[in-house]
């Protein structure tokens, strides 16, 4: 019935030795001709596609305070707060799972997904965005040394993945 598939064992020891030499040769080939596919992140960054589910931002003047976003949020990240008699959503990025339900459910498109995903916070209080902070543009990350090069990944037949400058 459920037998383990037996592979035919190579009986010829010379063949085994040749296989070892072949493996070492392949390693040496990769060593003398490096094909690195690492993205050097702080200096280079991938230019993200439109519709990327990054950090969410609020357009405060569009929002009608219908509380649908807080209702649908599966992680309880969205909470409604009252400011000047009007309800606005606030978001806690410590809980947010970036599912994008709030953006989809918004009847007036007051929530947008930005293409920023590399944000860092120094304490937990900073993770909670009140409506006034929630309705501001995100700062682009500060370049590590010099300028951040925007690149995009392209499939190359010989090298696998290569990164070409975008725009």
């Amino acid at each position: 019935m459920d037998q383990v598939k037996e592979y035919k064992k190579e009986g010829n020891p010379f063949r085994l030795f040749a296989d070892h030499l072949n493996a070492i040769g392949t390693g040496i080939k990769y060593f003398v001709r490096p094909q690195r596919i690492t993205l050097r992140y702080p200096e280079q960054a991938l230019s993200l596609p439109t519709g990327y589910r990054g950090m969410i931002r609020l357009y405060k003047d569009v929002c009608i305070g219908c509380t649908l976003c807080a209702l649908i949020c599966p992680a309880d990240a969205m909470k409604m707060v009252t400011e000047g008699g009007k309800k606005f959503p606030s978001i806690n990025y410590g809980r947010c799972v970036f599912c994008g339900f709030c953006v989809d459910v918004c009847p007036v498109d007051a929530l947008k997904e930005t293409r920023v995903h590399d944000a860092a916070f120094t304490n937990r209080r900073d993770l909670v965005f009140r409506p006034d902070r929630f309705s501001q543009d995100f700062d682009q990350p500060i370049p590590y040394q010099g300028v951040v090069k925007k690149v995009k990944a392209v499939i190359d037949e010989k090298k696998g993945i290569i990164y070409v400058p975008d725009e």
């Binding site: 020891p13 493996a23 690492t38």
Partner: protein, 353 residues
């Protein structure tokens, strides 16, 4: 004043001090150790299409990463677990280190000509009557092949002691693996060197080197067997079974931290370097065609190439299971070792006088 300078120079270049402590001994070995670990990480990264250590001094490709790691390890706290004998616990890695390094005091690094070299004053003190020259060696023994093998055979016992002293289950599993493996690799090392000894009619490594015929030409089978035994003895891939990180943490040195961990981990690299010197002397022609200090440098370059090739294997191979390694060594490599013995008999009888 000149007398003092002369005396200083005399004692500085005295082979027992210079060869063992400075070059190519302890200090040189420590530098090579750092470079080797950097090279190991870098070459594995390159073969696996990564970059490897880079951000500590970008200009040199992250070469200072290892210096940073070494400083961090040396200054981190040494934690001694409750329920161990602290003396044995602290002593065990030092014993491993000592017995991996001791063969370096017996391996001939270079020959000393009667005149013309900075080492020539020691020609008569380190005179090797087998080859009619002096030797750059810590302590000259005419039967150094046996003594080197004997000293490196103590290492597994000290690893067992280390594992037993740490009182850790992963360490014990690693030690049992070491005990199982040591039976097979010691046989390979002894048989390949026995083939060479029969072939060259000597137990003196210097005479093998000075015969002018590299062992890899005279007996390639023994070279293969010795190389496999070497990577098995020192836990390089694909035989990194004792310290298998994904199975038994780091094997016998699981409980160690700080400087004791450095000692425990450096042991296997130093053992590889010492055996690389033996490989270079016996199979690759050692210091020939130079002698004196350039000969030692040339010998070291060969040994470093062998050492770096063994660490390069990490990027090629996976890890064998213990039964695969034992089957490989007893079923495939041991017959090759017997064949190398026969080849040694025949070639030693027909060609090498």
């Amino acid at each position: 004043m000149d007398g003092v300078l002369y005396a200083l120079k005399y004692y500085f270049f005295y082979p027992s001090f210079f060869g063992v402590i400075i070059f190519p001994g302890l200090i040189f070995t420590s530098i090579i150790l750092l470079l080797t670990i950097w090279f190991e990480r870098k070459v594995a990264a390159i073969v696996q299409m990564r970059v490897g250590p880079l951000y500590v001094s970008k200009r040199t490709g992250g070469a200072l990463q290892l210096v940073a790691d070494a400083i961090r390890l040396v200054f981190s706290e040494i934690i001694i677990p409750a329920g161990v004998n602290p003396t044995l616990f602290a002593m065990a890695p030092a014993i491993v280190m000592i017995f991996t390094f001791l063969p370096m005091a017996l391996i001939p690094f270079s020959a000393i000509p009667q005149s013309g070299s900075v080492l020539s004053p020691y020609f008569h003190i380190f005179y090797d009557y087998n080859i009619g020259k002096g030797l750059l060696v810590g302590y000259f023994v005419p039967y150094n092949m046996i003594l080197i093998l004997g000293l490196s055979a103590i290492v597994p016992i000290s690893i067992l002691l280390q594992a037993w002293a740490t009182n850790n289950r992963f360490a014990l599993v690693g030690a049992v693996r070491e005990a199982l493996l040591s039976v097979s690799y010691d046989v390979l090392l002894v048989m390949s060197l026995a083939a060479i000894a029969i072939e060259y009619h000597t137990l003196d490594i210097a005479k093998v080197t000075e015969s002018g015929i590299p062992g890899i030409i005279a007996n390639p089978l023994a070279a293969i067997v010795f190389f496999v035994g070497m990577i098995m003895a020192t836990g390089r891939f694909p035989f990194e079974i004792v310290e298998a990180e994904s199975e038994v943490v780091v094997g016998p040195s699981t409980e160690y931290s700080g400087f004791l961990f450095v000692l425990a981990m450096a042991g296997s690299y130093i053992a590889t370097f010492a055996l690389s010197f033996v490989f270079s002397d016996v199979f690759l022609g050692g210091w020939l065609p130079f002698n004196g200090l350039p000969g030692a440098l040339w010998n070291s370059i060969k040994a470093i190439i062998v050492l770096w090739f063994t660490v390069f294997l990490r990027s090629v191979y996976g890890r064998y299971r213990i039964d695969q390694a034992l089957r490989g060594s007893w079923k495939y490599i041991l017959p090759v070792a017997f064949a190398s013995l026969v080849l040694g008999f025949v070639v030693g009888w027909l060609w090498i006088r």
